[in-house]
Amino acid sequence: MSTGLPEPTRERDDRLLLDVRGLTVRFPTPDGVVQAVSDVSFQLRRGETLGVVGESGSGKSVSNLAIMGLLNRARTVISGEVEFKGRDLLTLSTDALRTVRGKEIAMVFQDPFACLHPMYRVGAQIAEAVTAHEDVPRERAWARAVELLDHVGIPNATSRARDYPHQFSGGMRQRAMIAMALVHNPDILICDEPTTALDVTVQAQILELIESVKREFDIGVILVTHDLGVVAETANSVMVMYAGRVMEYGPANGIFSRNSGERKTSSDVSRSAFPSAARPSKRTTHTTSRPTPVWYSSPPGRGWAKLR
């Protein structure tokens, strides 16, 4: 029986949104099985930003697509557990998963130039996200689209909603994508390199927007990025990936303080990613100068161990 007082541990569990355990993604190809993600585990809580860093091909995007159920199930082998609000997303039927997608978990993608349909009005694309999960009249959905465009900082949202994506700048498109993601007040917002394709000045604005959205709606954000500066500024916890594996995972301040000092850390990856002025060694770029390995079988030990 509960005493009526909130227990601290219970309280923390209530805020747990996503519990990923041992996520592994394999792509069978004619040349053998590519293991893109190996045994990835992490947790995401409300109000938390999880920064996922790692170079191209390290499995960041694939793990998020797997969580969203956006990988073709017929051509991928996914194992592990992705627990979201007591349900395992990996075992959910396609239809059940669709009710989660865009409603409870929303995603913002890397390239806003390619992610909006070029032939439909921006407002219509956002309104479509409304009607996908809610049986409302067209005008209501459109009004919601305009309201959200205004909310994410599109000036003259009423008239701009009638524009086509090519009439929007890159930053505005990414704002529109975020508006589309917010339609149903999701619990989790996955941002897959949301600023990579944008100008530096616009990048800061978009990140700020994501941060304010997170605070306002009290949601969990997974922020995939190359940019450690971004992570240092916004993330509460950090996961460093390399060759489909988690190299480091922990609170942001822990990882950053550890790596900025003289101390040698467990991860070459994160060390190499912090080219410190205090340590201008030749080794600072060695990981990025190597091609990312493609594993045709489960790699033994740590992903980069074999490369030595």
Partner: protein, 321 residues
């Protein structure tokens, strides 16, 4: 937009005149014998021949005749506007001759076009969605069959099976819809299917390839991430983006057929424009050839214009200056 259309229409007239000018040059510069010989009776004297040549206007150089043609076209002749002149053979009005034959060809094209557009796109979509399954293989096998089968053979087989053996359809020949609607359909259904088969196959292949390419686009992933049903993702987001090349091809295919679906018309003895053009080319009846060529050229130019205008509706990125 209106200026754009007006400019295009003026260009259409220029292009059509050029095409007919070339037709006149070809007709007079290529050695094909003197058309007047045909109408001057048996072993005519030079005087008789000259008389016939004069009557048909053949004693003038080609550019004068072409000028006359263009002049009559714009100002009209005794048969009204646009003046297309009269045939060498019977002196009948070319315009009324074309008007009497055109419905046959146009009905043939319209029916076949509806058939091939819908069946082709539907087969393409199903094939793309069920990629690498038995359905896909069967559909693409059908496409290969449609593309590689000669129309005359297919037409004859259709006639043999569905008219001679089964009696499900009417045989060759044309029945006007005004005199007997059922007879019209019964006689048109086989030519429609025959003509549509080849095009449906092309369209199925093209739809499949375009759709598969489109389905790899990022905005399709966005549509899925929104939680849309797969059906909506494919039909609304995928197919819309795959339509542009299909619209282009559709416009061009229809335009080219206006000049005459010659083989289909011949196999089913429809005696449409293609038949008229071939016959008059063989009998050197220049006015009819010029009339049909003009109609075909106008059709190509107009369909081009329509396709370009449709583009603006399909793809908002297309803007006309």
């Amino acid at each position: 937009m209106i200026f754009y259309i007006a400019r295009r229409l003026i260009w259409t007239i220029v292009v059509v005149l050029c095409v007919i000018g070339i037709t006149y040059v070809v007709f007079f510069k290529l050695p094909a014998g003197n058309p007047a010989l045909r109408f001057a009776g048996k072993s005519p004297t030079p005087q008789e021949l000259a008389q016939v040549e004069h009557r048909l206007g053949l004693d003038k150089p080609w550019y004068v005749q072409f000028g006359r043609f263009a002049y009559h076209f714009f100002t009209g002749d005794q048969y009204g506007w646009p003046g297309l002149g009269y045939t060498y053979a019977s002196g009948a009005s070319v315009k009324s001759l074309i008007f009497s034959r055109a419905p046959r060809t146009l009905f043939l094209i319209a029916g076949a076009a509806v058939l091939w557009l819908f069946s082709g796109v539907a087969i393409g979509v199903i094939s793309a969605v069920r990629r690498r399954t038995v359905t896909d293989r069967v559909a693409m096998g059908f496409a290969l069959f449609g593309i590689s089968t000669p129309v005359f053979w297919l037409g004859l087989m259709m006639l043999y099976i569905f008219w001679r053996q089964l009696g499900w359809a009417g045989g060759a020949g044309y029945v006007s819809p005004a005199s007997s609607p059922t007879g019209f359909f019964s006689h048109m259904i086989l030519p429609w299917i025959t003509l549509a088969m080849l095009y449906a196959a092309f369209y199925a292949r093209m739809t499949r390839n375009n759709l598969l390419e489109t389905l790899g686009e990022d905005y399709i992933r966005t549509a899925r991430a929104k939680g849309l049903s797969e059906r909506r993702v494919i039909l609304k987001h995928g197919l819309r983006a795959s339509l542009t090349p299909i619209v282009t091809m559709f416009g061009m295919d229809i335009a080219l057929l206006v000049g005459g679906a010659v083989i289909t018309e011949s196999v089913f003895n429809l005696q449409g424009l293609g038949y008229l053009a071939i016959n008059s080319a063989l009998t050197q009846d220049l006015p009819i050839v010029a009339g049909v060529v003009m109609l075909a050229a106008v059709a190509v130019a107009l369909m081009n214009l329509i396709v370009d205008i449709l583009y603006a509706f399909i793809d908002p990125r297309v803007r006309y200056a």
